[in-house]
Protein backbone atom coordinates (compact mmCIF):
# COMPACT_ATOMS: atom_id res chain seq x y z
CA UNK A 1 0.00 0.00 0.00
CA UNK A 2 1.27 3.45 -0.89
CA UNK A 3 1.46 5.77 2.12
CA UNK A 4 3.05 8.78 0.48
CA UNK A 5 2.75 9.50 -3.22
CA UNK A 6 4.56 12.41 -4.87
CA UNK A 7 4.40 13.22 -8.56
CA UNK A 8 6.24 16.13 -10.14
CA UNK A 9 6.43 17.76 -6.71
CA UNK A 10 7.92 21.25 -6.67
CA UNK A 11 8.41 23.85 -3.97
CA UNK A 12 9.56 27.42 -4.49
CA UNK A 13 10.49 29.92 -1.80
CA UNK A 14 10.25 33.31 -3.45
CA UNK A 15 13.08 33.08 -5.99
CA UNK A 16 14.59 29.84 -4.72
CA UNK A 17 13.50 26.44 -6.01
CA UNK A 18 13.97 24.17 -3.00
CA UNK A 19 12.33 21.05 -4.44
CA UNK A 20 12.50 20.54 -8.17
CA UNK A 21 9.99 18.21 -9.87
CA UNK A 22 10.53 15.08 -7.81
CA UNK A 23 8.65 11.77 -7.93
CA UNK A 24 8.62 9.12 -5.22
CA UNK A 25 6.40 6.62 -3.46
CA UNK A 26 6.73 5.41 0.09
CA UNK A 27 5.05 2.15 1.05
CA UNK A 28 3.28 1.39 4.27
CA UNK A 29 5.59 0.07 7.03
CA UNK A 30 8.63 1.03 5.04
CA UNK A 31 11.57 2.99 6.43
CA UNK A 32 12.39 5.57 3.79
CA UNK A 33 15.28 8.00 4.02
CA UNK A 34 16.06 11.26 2.27
CA UNK A 35 19.81 11.55 2.09
CA UNK A 36 21.71 14.68 1.23
CA UNK A 37 23.65 17.64 2.54
CA UNK A 38 22.05 20.72 4.11
CA UNK A 39 20.12 22.69 1.53
CA UNK A 40 19.35 19.69 -0.69
CA UNK A 41 15.62 20.06 -0.02
CA UNK A 42 15.10 17.16 2.39
CA UNK A 43 13.44 19.14 5.16
CA UNK A 44 11.22 20.96 2.67
CA UNK A 45 9.92 17.63 1.37
CA UNK A 46 9.21 16.49 4.92
CA UNK A 47 7.41 19.71 5.77
CA UNK A 48 5.18 19.36 2.73
CA UNK A 49 4.36 15.78 3.75
CA UNK A 50 3.15 16.90 7.18
CA UNK A 51 1.23 19.82 5.66
CA UNK A 52 3.43 22.50 7.21
CA UNK A 53 4.34 24.00 3.86
CA UNK A 54 2.01 24.35 0.90
CA UNK A 55 3.01 22.62 -2.32
CA UNK A 56 3.95 24.96 -5.19
CA UNK A 57 3.06 22.50 -7.95
CA UNK A 58 2.70 18.81 -8.57
CA UNK A 59 0.86 16.18 -6.62
CA UNK A 60 1.39 15.02 -3.04
CA UNK A 61 -0.85 12.49 -1.33
CA UNK A 62 -0.46 11.10 2.14
CA UNK A 63 -2.51 8.04 3.14
CA UNK A 64 -4.38 8.61 -0.11
CA UNK A 65 -5.39 12.18 0.79
CA UNK A 66 -4.29 15.35 -0.95
CA UNK A 67 -2.17 17.50 1.38
CA UNK A 68 -3.91 20.69 0.28
CA UNK A 69 -7.40 19.60 1.36
CA UNK A 70 -6.99 17.21 4.28
CA UNK A 71 -4.44 18.81 6.56
CA UNK A 72 -6.00 17.98 9.89
CA UNK A 73 -6.82 14.42 8.90
CA UNK A 74 -3.28 13.76 7.64
CA UNK A 75 -1.69 15.42 10.64
CA UNK A 76 -3.84 13.44 13.07
CA UNK A 77 -2.34 10.24 11.65
CA UNK A 78 1.24 11.51 11.53
CA UNK A 79 3.93 12.00 14.15
CA UNK A 80 6.64 14.58 13.61
CA UNK A 81 10.03 14.74 15.26
CA UNK A 82 11.41 18.07 14.07
CA UNK A 83 14.98 19.00 13.41
CA UNK A 84 14.91 21.88 15.87
CA UNK A 85 13.92 21.50 19.48
CA UNK A 86 10.45 23.00 19.76
CA UNK A 87 9.46 21.56 23.11
CA UNK A 88 7.46 23.97 25.21
CA UNK A 89 10.00 25.54 27.58
CA UNK A 90 7.25 26.83 29.88
CA UNK A 91 6.02 23.33 30.62
CA UNK A 92 7.49 20.29 32.36
CA UNK A 93 8.42 17.06 30.55
CA UNK A 94 5.12 15.41 31.42
CA UNK A 95 3.04 18.50 30.62
CA UNK A 96 4.70 18.73 27.23
CA UNK A 97 3.22 15.35 26.36
CA UNK A 98 -0.23 15.97 27.87
CA UNK A 99 -0.72 19.36 26.24
CA UNK A 100 0.51 18.05 22.93
CA UNK A 101 -1.97 15.18 23.16
CA UNK A 102 -4.76 17.71 23.63
CA UNK A 103 -4.10 19.16 20.18
CA UNK A 104 -5.06 15.70 18.89
CA UNK A 105 -8.20 15.70 21.04
CA UNK A 106 -6.87 12.84 23.11
CA UNK A 107 -8.66 12.94 26.47
CA UNK A 108 -6.54 13.43 29.58
CA UNK A 109 -7.32 9.93 30.91
CA UNK A 110 -5.94 8.31 27.79
CA UNK A 111 -3.06 10.71 27.30
CA UNK A 112 -1.68 10.42 30.82
CA UNK A 113 -1.48 6.62 30.56
CA UNK A 114 0.11 7.01 27.17
CA UNK A 115 2.52 9.70 28.39
CA UNK A 116 3.84 7.45 31.15
CA UNK A 117 4.27 4.58 28.66
CA UNK A 118 6.18 6.85 26.34
CA UNK A 119 8.34 8.22 29.13
CA UNK A 120 9.26 4.62 29.95
CA UNK A 121 9.88 3.96 26.28
CA UNK A 122 12.38 6.82 26.02
CA UNK A 123 13.69 6.27 29.56
CA UNK A 124 12.63 9.62 30.95
CA UNK A 125 10.16 8.54 33.62
CA UNK A 126 12.19 9.99 36.48
CA UNK A 127 12.43 13.31 34.59
CA UNK A 128 8.65 13.72 34.30
CA UNK A 129 8.48 16.83 36.49
CA UNK A 130 11.68 18.42 35.27
CA UNK A 131 11.79 21.65 33.28
CA UNK A 132 12.78 21.37 29.64
CA UNK A 133 15.78 23.64 30.12
CA UNK A 134 17.25 21.20 32.64
CA UNK A 135 17.33 18.33 30.12
CA UNK A 136 20.47 17.39 28.21
CA UNK A 137 20.43 17.50 24.41
CA UNK A 138 20.01 13.73 24.19
CA UNK A 139 17.09 13.78 26.63
CA UNK A 140 15.35 16.55 24.67
CA UNK A 141 15.73 14.53 21.51
CA UNK A 142 14.22 11.50 23.21
CA UNK A 143 11.35 13.60 24.54
CA UNK A 144 10.72 14.95 21.03
CA UNK A 145 10.52 11.35 19.86
CA UNK A 146 8.12 10.47 22.66
CA UNK A 147 5.97 13.50 21.84
CA UNK A 148 5.82 12.52 18.17
CA UNK A 149 4.32 9.16 19.22
CA UNK A 150 1.60 10.54 21.49
CA UNK A 151 -1.12 10.05 18.84
CA UNK A 152 -0.03 6.50 17.88
CA UNK A 153 0.90 7.67 14.39
CA UNK A 154 0.78 5.49 11.29
CA UNK A 155 3.52 7.61 9.79
CA UNK A 156 6.48 8.86 11.75
CA UNK A 157 8.46 11.71 10.23
CA UNK A 158 11.93 12.23 11.65
CA UNK A 159 13.92 15.21 10.45
CA UNK A 160 17.57 14.53 11.25
CA UNK A 161 16.65 12.62 14.37
CA UNK A 162 20.20 12.13 15.62
CA UNK A 163 22.02 15.27 14.48
CA UNK A 164 24.18 16.62 17.28
CA UNK A 165 23.79 13.57 19.50
CA UNK A 166 26.61 11.65 21.13
CA UNK A 167 27.04 8.03 19.95
CA UNK A 168 25.27 6.62 22.97
CA UNK A 169 22.13 8.75 22.53
CA UNK A 170 22.22 8.15 18.80
CA UNK A 171 22.10 4.40 19.33
CA UNK A 172 19.29 4.86 21.84
CA UNK A 173 17.22 6.73 19.22
CA UNK A 174 18.00 4.14 16.55
CA UNK A 175 16.85 1.39 18.86
CA UNK A 176 13.49 3.13 19.34
CA UNK A 177 13.13 3.63 15.60
CA UNK A 178 13.81 -0.08 15.02
CA UNK A 179 11.07 -0.86 17.49
CA UNK A 180 8.58 1.47 15.76
CA UNK A 181 9.44 -0.08 12.42
CA UNK A 182 8.86 -3.58 13.78
CA UNK A 183 5.45 -2.35 14.98
CA UNK A 184 4.54 -1.51 11.37
CA UNK A 185 4.88 2.27 11.51
CA UNK A 186 5.95 3.92 8.27
CA UNK A 187 9.15 5.81 9.01
CA UNK A 188 10.32 8.71 6.89
CA UNK A 189 13.58 10.31 7.87
CA UNK A 190 16.15 12.74 6.62
CA UNK A 191 19.77 12.36 7.46
CA UNK A 192 23.24 13.18 6.34
CA UNK A 193 24.75 10.25 8.20
CA UNK A 194 25.42 7.32 5.91
CA UNK A 195 25.61 4.95 8.80
CA UNK A 196 22.09 5.94 9.84
CA UNK A 197 20.71 5.43 6.36
CA UNK A 198 22.48 2.09 5.89
CA UNK A 199 21.38 0.79 9.23
CA UNK A 200 17.74 1.86 9.24
CA UNK A 201 16.41 2.52 5.76
CA UNK A 202 14.79 0.03 3.42
CA UNK A 203 15.20 2.56 0.63
CA UNK A 204 16.82 5.94 0.33
CA UNK A 205 16.29 8.84 -2.03
CA UNK A 206 19.52 10.65 -2.71
CA UNK A 207 18.85 14.37 -3.03
CA UNK A 208 20.97 17.06 -4.56
CA UNK A 209 19.94 20.67 -5.17
CA UNK A 210 16.22 19.93 -4.92
CA UNK A 211 16.27 16.89 -7.19
CA UNK A 212 16.23 13.18 -6.47
CA UNK A 213 19.22 11.66 -8.24
CA UNK A 214 18.61 8.05 -7.20
CA UNK A 215 16.11 5.96 -5.24
CA UNK A 216 16.96 2.43 -4.18
CA UNK A 217 17.90 0.26 -1.22
CA UNK A 218 21.26 1.17 0.32
CA UNK A 219 22.55 -2.31 -0.59
CA UNK A 220 21.62 -1.96 -4.26
CA UNK A 221 23.10 1.51 -4.48
CA UNK A 222 26.34 0.32 -2.95
CA UNK A 223 26.56 -2.71 -5.22
CA UNK A 224 25.87 -0.65 -8.31
CA UNK A 225 28.16 2.24 -7.53
CA UNK A 226 30.67 0.58 -5.23
CA UNK A 227 31.86 1.43 -1.74
CA UNK A 228 29.66 2.90 0.95
CA UNK A 229 26.82 5.43 0.57
CA UNK A 230 29.30 8.26 0.84
CA UNK A 231 31.08 6.96 -2.26
CA UNK A 232 27.72 6.48 -4.00
CA UNK A 233 26.81 10.05 -3.23
CA UNK A 234 30.12 11.35 -4.50
CA UNK A 235 29.75 9.41 -7.72
CA UNK A 236 26.17 10.51 -8.35
CA UNK A 237 26.57 14.19 -7.55
CA UNK A 238 30.26 14.92 -7.67
CA UNK A 239 29.98 16.19 -4.11
CA UNK A 240 30.87 14.97 -0.66
CA UNK A 241 27.93 14.14 1.54
CA UNK A 242 29.41 14.95 4.92
CA UNK A 243 28.07 18.35 5.92
Amino acid sequence: MVTVYAKDLTKDYKSLRAVDHIDFEISSAECFGFLGPNGAGKTTVMRMIYCFLPVTSGELKVVGLDVADHQSEIKSRTGVMPQENNLDPDLSVFENLIIYARYFDIPKKVSSVRAWELLDFVELREKAKVNIKDLSGGMRQRLLLARSLINNPEILILDEPTTGLDPHSRHAVWEKMDYMKAKGTTLILTTHYMEEAEKLCDRVAIMDAGKIVAIDSPANLMTRHGGNLEAVYLELTGRHLAA
Binding site: L53, V80, P82
Partner: protein, 251 residues
Protein backbone atom coordinates in the same frame (compact mmCIF):
# COMPACT_ATOMS: atom_id res chain seq x y z
CA UNK B 1 -11.04 27.57 11.31
CA UNK B 2 -12.47 25.30 13.97
CA UNK B 3 -13.31 26.81 17.32
CA UNK B 4 -12.51 23.63 19.25
CA UNK B 5 -8.99 23.54 17.87
CA UNK B 6 -8.53 27.26 18.51
CA UNK B 7 -9.48 26.60 22.12
CA UNK B 8 -6.70 24.01 22.34
CA UNK B 9 -4.26 26.83 21.67
CA UNK B 10 -6.05 28.99 24.23
CA UNK B 11 -5.79 26.17 26.76
CA UNK B 12 -2.07 25.85 26.19
CA UNK B 13 -1.55 29.55 26.86
CA UNK B 14 -3.84 29.44 29.85
CA UNK B 15 -1.92 26.49 31.31
CA UNK B 16 1.39 28.34 30.96
CA UNK B 17 -0.22 31.46 32.41
CA UNK B 18 -1.47 29.63 35.50
CA UNK B 19 2.10 28.50 36.10
CA UNK B 20 3.59 31.96 35.78
CA UNK B 21 0.77 34.26 36.81
CA UNK B 22 2.20 35.22 40.18
CA UNK B 23 4.95 37.30 38.63
CA UNK B 24 3.01 38.79 35.73
CA UNK B 25 -0.32 39.50 37.41
CA UNK B 26 1.26 41.57 40.18
CA UNK B 27 3.31 43.60 37.70
CA UNK B 28 0.32 44.30 35.53
CA UNK B 29 -1.83 45.80 38.20
CA UNK B 30 0.83 47.60 40.19
CA UNK B 31 1.39 50.02 37.32
CA UNK B 32 -2.25 51.12 36.88
CA UNK B 33 -2.60 51.60 40.61
CA UNK B 34 0.51 53.79 40.58
CA UNK B 35 -1.03 55.94 37.84
CA UNK B 36 -4.19 56.22 39.81
CA UNK B 37 -2.35 57.23 42.95
CA UNK B 38 0.07 59.66 41.32
CA UNK B 39 -2.44 61.40 39.06
CA UNK B 40 -5.67 60.86 40.92
CA UNK B 41 -4.36 61.84 44.32
CA UNK B 42 -1.40 63.99 43.29
CA UNK B 43 -2.79 65.93 40.36
CA UNK B 44 -6.27 65.60 41.81
CA UNK B 45 -5.28 68.06 44.54
CA UNK B 46 -5.08 70.77 41.87
CA UNK B 47 -7.71 69.57 39.45
CA UNK B 48 -10.72 69.16 41.65
CA UNK B 49 -13.35 68.11 39.15
CA UNK B 50 -13.70 67.23 35.49
CA UNK B 51 -17.17 67.21 33.96
CA UNK B 52 -18.57 67.46 37.47
CA UNK B 53 -16.79 64.34 38.69
CA UNK B 54 -13.92 64.27 41.23
CA UNK B 55 -10.70 63.91 39.25
CA UNK B 56 -9.70 60.49 40.61
CA UNK B 57 -13.18 59.13 39.83
CA UNK B 58 -12.85 60.61 36.36
CA UNK B 59 -9.62 58.80 35.51
CA UNK B 60 -10.29 55.48 37.31
CA UNK B 61 -12.53 53.98 34.58
CA UNK B 62 -9.99 55.05 31.97
CA UNK B 63 -7.36 53.03 33.80
CA UNK B 64 -9.55 49.93 33.33
CA UNK B 65 -9.43 50.58 29.61
CA UNK B 66 -5.69 51.21 29.41
CA UNK B 67 -4.85 48.15 31.51
CA UNK B 68 -7.00 46.02 29.25
CA UNK B 69 -5.30 47.50 26.20
CA UNK B 70 -1.77 46.92 27.45
CA UNK B 71 -2.57 43.38 28.59
CA UNK B 72 -3.72 42.34 25.11
CA UNK B 73 -0.89 44.26 23.46
CA UNK B 74 1.90 42.69 25.54
CA UNK B 75 0.41 39.27 25.07
CA UNK B 76 -0.03 39.52 21.32
CA UNK B 77 3.20 41.35 20.53
CA UNK B 78 5.99 40.02 22.77
CA UNK B 79 4.12 36.91 23.86
CA UNK B 80 3.04 35.86 20.40
CA UNK B 81 6.40 36.75 18.88
CA UNK B 82 8.33 34.70 21.43
CA UNK B 83 6.05 31.72 20.90
CA UNK B 84 6.33 32.05 17.15
CA UNK B 85 9.99 32.92 16.65
CA UNK B 86 12.09 31.98 19.69
CA UNK B 87 10.27 29.03 21.21
CA UNK B 88 8.99 27.60 17.92
CA UNK B 89 5.81 26.72 19.78
CA UNK B 90 3.78 27.45 16.66
CA UNK B 91 5.86 25.03 14.60
CA UNK B 92 5.16 22.31 17.15
CA UNK B 93 1.43 23.07 17.21
CA UNK B 94 1.14 23.19 13.43
CA UNK B 95 2.43 19.61 13.18
CA UNK B 96 -0.78 18.51 14.97
CA UNK B 97 -4.37 18.64 13.64
CA UNK B 98 -4.45 22.31 14.67
CA UNK B 99 -4.19 24.38 11.49
CA UNK B 100 -2.85 27.82 10.93
CA UNK B 101 -6.21 29.63 11.21
CA UNK B 102 -7.04 27.73 14.40
CA UNK B 103 -3.72 28.84 15.82
CA UNK B 104 -4.23 32.50 14.93
CA UNK B 105 -7.76 32.44 16.31
CA UNK B 106 -6.54 30.79 19.51
CA UNK B 107 -3.92 33.48 20.02
CA UNK B 108 -6.45 36.25 19.41
CA UNK B 109 -9.02 34.79 21.78
CA UNK B 110 -6.31 34.34 24.38
CA UNK B 111 -5.19 37.97 24.02
CA UNK B 112 -8.80 39.12 24.36
CA UNK B 113 -9.34 36.92 27.40
CA UNK B 114 -6.28 38.29 29.12
CA UNK B 115 -7.40 41.80 28.30
CA UNK B 116 -10.77 41.11 29.87
CA UNK B 117 -9.14 39.53 32.93
CA UNK B 118 -6.78 42.44 33.56
CA UNK B 119 -9.51 45.01 33.02
CA UNK B 120 -11.76 43.13 35.41
CA UNK B 121 -9.05 43.13 38.06
CA UNK B 122 -8.84 46.91 37.79
CA UNK B 123 -12.63 47.10 38.08
CA UNK B 124 -12.33 45.18 41.34
CA UNK B 125 -9.50 47.39 42.57
CA UNK B 126 -11.15 50.72 41.81
CA UNK B 127 -14.47 49.47 43.17
CA UNK B 128 -12.69 48.53 46.38
CA UNK B 129 -11.38 52.09 46.58
CA UNK B 130 -14.94 53.36 46.15
CA UNK B 131 -14.23 55.02 42.80
CA UNK B 132 -17.16 53.48 40.96
CA UNK B 133 -20.66 54.76 41.54
CA UNK B 134 -22.71 52.07 39.78
CA UNK B 135 -22.79 48.26 39.75
CA UNK B 136 -23.44 48.65 36.02
CA UNK B 137 -19.64 48.79 35.70
CA UNK B 138 -19.92 45.01 35.31
CA UNK B 139 -21.54 45.52 31.91
CA UNK B 140 -18.15 46.74 30.74
CA UNK B 141 -16.64 43.26 31.24
CA UNK B 142 -17.84 41.69 27.96
CA UNK B 143 -16.93 44.90 26.14
CA UNK B 144 -13.38 44.43 27.45
CA UNK B 145 -13.28 41.13 25.56
CA UNK B 146 -14.44 42.82 22.38
CA UNK B 147 -11.91 45.63 22.61
CA UNK B 148 -9.28 43.08 23.70
CA UNK B 149 -9.87 41.36 20.40
CA UNK B 150 -9.12 44.60 18.56
CA UNK B 151 -5.90 45.21 20.50
CA UNK B 152 -4.90 41.58 19.92
CA UNK B 153 -5.61 41.94 16.19
CA UNK B 154 -3.61 45.15 15.84
CA UNK B 155 -0.75 43.61 17.83
CA UNK B 156 -0.68 40.49 15.70
CA UNK B 157 -0.75 42.53 12.52
CA UNK B 158 2.45 44.09 13.88
CA UNK B 159 3.89 40.67 14.69
CA UNK B 160 3.22 39.69 11.10
CA UNK B 161 5.08 42.61 9.60
CA UNK B 162 7.99 43.46 11.95
CA UNK B 163 11.50 42.36 11.01
CA UNK B 164 12.38 41.59 14.64
CA UNK B 165 11.30 41.86 18.25
CA UNK B 166 13.02 45.26 18.75
CA UNK B 167 10.57 46.86 16.34
CA UNK B 168 7.81 46.60 18.91
CA UNK B 169 9.34 49.72 20.48
CA UNK B 170 7.86 51.66 17.57
CA UNK B 171 4.46 50.14 18.17
CA UNK B 172 4.53 51.14 21.83
CA UNK B 173 6.09 54.57 21.45
CA UNK B 174 4.29 55.73 18.35
CA UNK B 175 0.95 54.01 18.76
CA UNK B 176 0.05 52.72 22.21
CA UNK B 177 1.53 55.50 24.34
CA UNK B 178 -0.08 58.35 22.35
CA UNK B 179 -3.35 56.46 22.50
CA UNK B 180 -2.95 56.05 26.25
CA UNK B 181 -2.36 59.79 26.67
CA UNK B 182 -4.91 61.21 24.21
CA UNK B 183 -7.92 58.91 24.41
CA UNK B 184 -9.74 60.75 27.14
CA UNK B 185 -8.38 58.89 30.13
CA UNK B 186 -6.78 61.93 31.82
CA UNK B 187 -8.83 64.75 30.30
CA UNK B 188 -11.78 65.00 27.91
CA UNK B 189 -10.56 64.91 24.30
CA UNK B 190 -12.73 67.89 23.32
CA UNK B 191 -10.34 70.11 25.27
CA UNK B 192 -7.77 69.32 22.59
CA UNK B 193 -7.50 71.01 19.19
CA UNK B 194 -10.29 69.69 16.93
CA UNK B 195 -7.85 67.70 14.74
CA UNK B 196 -6.50 65.74 17.72
CA UNK B 197 -9.94 64.95 19.04
CA UNK B 198 -10.95 63.80 15.56
CA UNK B 199 -7.96 61.45 15.51
CA UNK B 200 -8.94 60.13 18.94
CA UNK B 201 -12.29 59.12 17.49
CA UNK B 202 -10.50 56.63 15.24
CA UNK B 203 -8.72 54.85 18.11
CA UNK B 204 -10.29 51.87 19.88
CA UNK B 205 -9.08 53.06 23.28
CA UNK B 206 -11.13 56.26 23.06
CA UNK B 207 -14.32 54.25 22.61
CA UNK B 208 -13.40 51.78 25.33
CA UNK B 209 -12.75 54.66 27.75
CA UNK B 210 -16.21 56.03 26.94
CA UNK B 211 -17.78 52.67 27.63
CA UNK B 212 -15.94 52.17 30.93
CA UNK B 213 -16.70 55.71 32.12
CA UNK B 214 -20.39 55.53 31.21
CA UNK B 215 -20.68 52.12 32.87
CA UNK B 216 -18.94 53.37 36.02
CA UNK B 217 -21.48 56.20 36.20
CA UNK B 218 -24.37 53.86 35.49
CA UNK B 219 -25.18 55.57 32.18
CA UNK B 220 -24.48 52.78 29.75
CA UNK B 221 -26.98 53.92 27.12
CA UNK B 222 -24.62 56.82 26.41
CA UNK B 223 -22.01 54.45 25.03
CA UNK B 224 -23.99 52.07 22.83
CA UNK B 225 -22.55 53.78 19.81
CA UNK B 226 -19.03 53.16 21.13
CA UNK B 227 -19.80 49.47 21.57
CA UNK B 228 -21.08 49.31 18.00
CA UNK B 229 -17.86 51.02 16.84
CA UNK B 230 -15.73 48.43 18.68
CA UNK B 231 -17.73 45.54 17.29
CA UNK B 232 -17.47 46.85 13.77
CA UNK B 233 -13.71 47.39 13.97
CA UNK B 234 -13.07 43.98 15.57
CA UNK B 235 -14.87 42.40 12.63
CA UNK B 236 -13.13 44.35 9.89
CA UNK B 237 -9.64 43.83 11.32
CA UNK B 238 -10.02 40.05 11.54
CA UNK B 239 -9.41 39.15 7.88
CA UNK B 240 -6.30 41.35 7.75
CA UNK B 241 -4.90 39.73 10.87
CA UNK B 242 -5.45 36.25 9.47
CA UNK B 243 -4.11 37.08 6.05
CA UNK B 244 -0.93 38.77 7.30
CA UNK B 245 -0.19 36.16 9.96
CA UNK B 246 -0.72 33.34 7.47
CA UNK B 247 1.76 35.03 5.19
CA UNK B 248 4.24 35.41 8.06
CA UNK B 249 3.93 31.79 9.17
CA UNK B 250 3.89 30.03 5.82
CA UNK B 251 6.60 30.66 3.29
Amino acid sequence: MQLKRALRVWQRNFKVYTKLYKSSLALNFVEPVLYLAALGLGLGTFVKEVEGIPYINFIAPGIIASSAMFAAAYECTYGTYVRMFYQKTFDAILATPVNIDDLIAGELIWGASKSMLYGTIIIAVISAFGLVSSPLILTAVPVLFLSGLIFAEISMIFVAIVPGIDSFNYFYTLFLTPMFLFSGIFFPVDTLPPLVSKIAFFTPLYHLVNVCRSAALGKLQGSLWDIAWLFFVAVILAPYTFRLMRKRLVQ
